[in-house]
Subunit: 393 residues, 2 copies
């Protein structure tokens, strides 16, 4: 049987699967230990009240023939696309509802959209969310990297020269927590327009930006509507990691509307839309009440970020993020590699984090912690992390 | 901007979008007419009671931190994969839960799975569900067709020679309603094994098979676990068209387990699973109570199929399907083309159907009707259809 040779080029295992494997093995042999995860970016707060109320109402509708809704529009119901437009309008960004595509999460759309470009030259940050890399291996694309280092504050600038078809950016960054300024994003937009590239802008963590001077959408930058697709998610703010809903903005200004039309064609052919009941929950998240709730959720998680930040600061560990982002990016103590520190943190402190090298080669010797845990757990984990780091220094 | 040239080869419009456009235009200019759709395969019965109860319970769980579930396994929760295994066991098919992948619907998986094969030679029926064709245009694949005609009962047999990488089959067929016997499927399985091809078996309508001698799964045929992937859905039986859940079976017997592993890798990288609450609803559909409910739904729709069948028979119109299938495939009266009859049926009888030519070139002059309407509507539509056909003969 002839299988796709690009798929056969994939490395053995997906980062989070490997972590789950090691944690599972440790727990199996240490059943009484309290292992706390500051690893994978799953949330601990449940669905917001508005979302739950909207779900209940929508389930009632789906239980009766008079109000039942079957196949919906693949791109999403107008009620939700309009609500997303209103959300952007409040940021000062004017979008048309036809530019919004409701998705089952940013991961799906970030993975599927390269299809529209065929064989491509792709530029992505390093370190980076590993799925960006894997989907482009699957597509057989030629990959190049813009390195995020201490020297550039983990915010790589466009290269001096070179042409790329697709440029991935993520701000606030997963994994480093660094956030581009409007001026820095403008350099990327100018570069993309000058070289006829598309930017895939992953804005999944935009709600965590508290500094009013930092942009929460690439469309706050002039010219972005001519070159940038923006991916967003309800996962981290409203507890939608298990409910699955996000949205993708494909402006009609890109390639004279062709990209918007092709994405619509892709979605109508290979996707049947997000569940009606889930779209009603997402709509509720974007009401005034829903937004107040997610503001409180963000506040809760950012308290955790502060706790982690303080623990590292106290131990004298170099780190970034955790201010306008739920991610903290720390240098492994005492010259440890990422996986050495992973194992040490797991077996000596019973805390799970994510090895930086899993996000790319410049991540070697670095480590990602997340603020999505329960607050009590995070307090305990931060104390253990602090003690381990001190003992290693 | 360099866009995928394969996408640019797509024909202008997707069948159902064109239908929606024509119906919308007619309704706008005839606001008082009662237009009845026997067209797109959406259902009219609401979610089954078991599914609704399971949804309500799961929403409650998601509203509390103690019972909240975030990211689930991309391939689906074990509780649902186990329930699917039980469902197959009752048919006499033994599957491993690791061979089941929960999806957001058969359409997504049927569209995405060609990725695993790269550039391929593909054989599909004609007429056929148009998304099969479109996704392979998008992939730049080389397409060949096995024609379903009156002479072979719309059940094409394998070709005498030729090699293909992927073979699509659909039984009960969309659009013709024809159902393969076990012996006929065995010919396809033998052909696939002899030529090292994979079969994509679309079993979305298996619940409509009432004749106990006809297979409801390709795995009832010897050797199928070495060559066939089976796609199934809760859409038509349990009212899940707007809730979005299906499942795909990728046996480990195919390519020594490689296809199962690659599909798992694809799903873990580009998909984040089906909502937890939806998986609980699907699990409820597969309980004894849930299965009794879908049996009643199938009975309701099959009454409609009988009404349509009788109306055509009375008018002397050649047709097939509607016995072990919710689809009826009729010859357009008086030599009309598919779209001519579509327009005539819409404007003279205010009934919407689906032009056969939209399913491939052998569908020209044929027309698809579906049994998924409300019973009262179907009675009225069948009467109007009968009168129009008589007036044209």
């Amino acid at each position: 049987m002839k299988l796709n040779s690009n798929y056969l080029n994939l490395k053995e295992s997906y980062l989070f699967a490997e972590i789950a494997h090691r944690v599972g093995a440790y727990k199996a042999s240490h059943p009484d230990e309290r292992v706390i995860s500051l690893g994978i970016g799953d949330v601990t707060l449940p669905l917001t009240d508005s979302a739950v109320a909207a779900l209940r109402k929508a389930v009632d509708e789906q239980s009766r023939a008079e109000t039942f809704r079957g196949y919906g529009p693949e791109r999403g119901y107008a009620f939700l696309r309009d609500a997303v437009c209103d959300y952007y309008a409040d940021k000062g960004v004017s979008l048309d509802a036809e530019e919004i595509f409701v998705s089952d999460g940013a991961k799906s759309d970030l993975g599927n959209m390269p299809e529209l470009f065929g064989n491509s030259r792709v530029l992505m940050p390093d370190p980076v969310y590993p799925a960006y890399y894997d989907v482009n291996v699957m597509a057989g694309n030629e990959m190049h990297f813009a390195e995020g280092t201490v020297d550039n504050g983990f915010l790589p600038a466009p290269p001096e020269d070179g042409r790329f078809d697709i440029i991935y950016l993520c701000s606030p960054s997963n994994p480093t927590g660094a956030v581009y300024s409007a001026q820095q994003l403008k350099e990327w937009v100018d570069f993309a327009r000058a070289t006829d590239a598309v930017i895939f802008f992953d804005a999944a963590y935009e709600s965590f930006v508290r500094d009013g001077n930092l942009p929460t959408s690439i469309y706050l930058v002039e010219g972005a509507k001519e070159c940038a697709v923006e991916f967003c998610s309800f996962s981290k703010t409203a507890g939608f990691t298990g409910l699955r809903c996000g949205y993708t903005v494909v402006p009609k200004g890109i390639a004279e509307g062709k990209l918007n039309a092709l994405w619509n064609r892709r979605q109508t052919t290979k996707f049947n839309g997000v569940p009606y009941i889930v779209q009603r929950a997402a709509q509720a998240v974007l009401t005034a009440e829903g937004r107040a709730e997610i503001g409180r959720n963000v506040g809760y998680y950012m308290q955790n970020a502060t706790v982690i930040h303080n623990a590292l600061q106290d131990a004298g560990i170099t780190h970034t993020g955790g201010v306008n982002s739920p991610y903290v990016w720390m240098k492994c103590p005492a010259g440890r590699t990422s996986w050495e520190f992973f194992d040490e943190l797991l077996t000596r402190a019973q805390v799970v984090g994510t090895p930086g090298v899993g996000f790319g080669k410049t991540g070697e010797g670095w480590f990602r912690l997340t603020a999505f845990g329960a607050h009590d757990d995070t307090l305990v984990a931060a104390e253990r992390l602090n003690a381990l780091c001190r003992s290693l220094s």
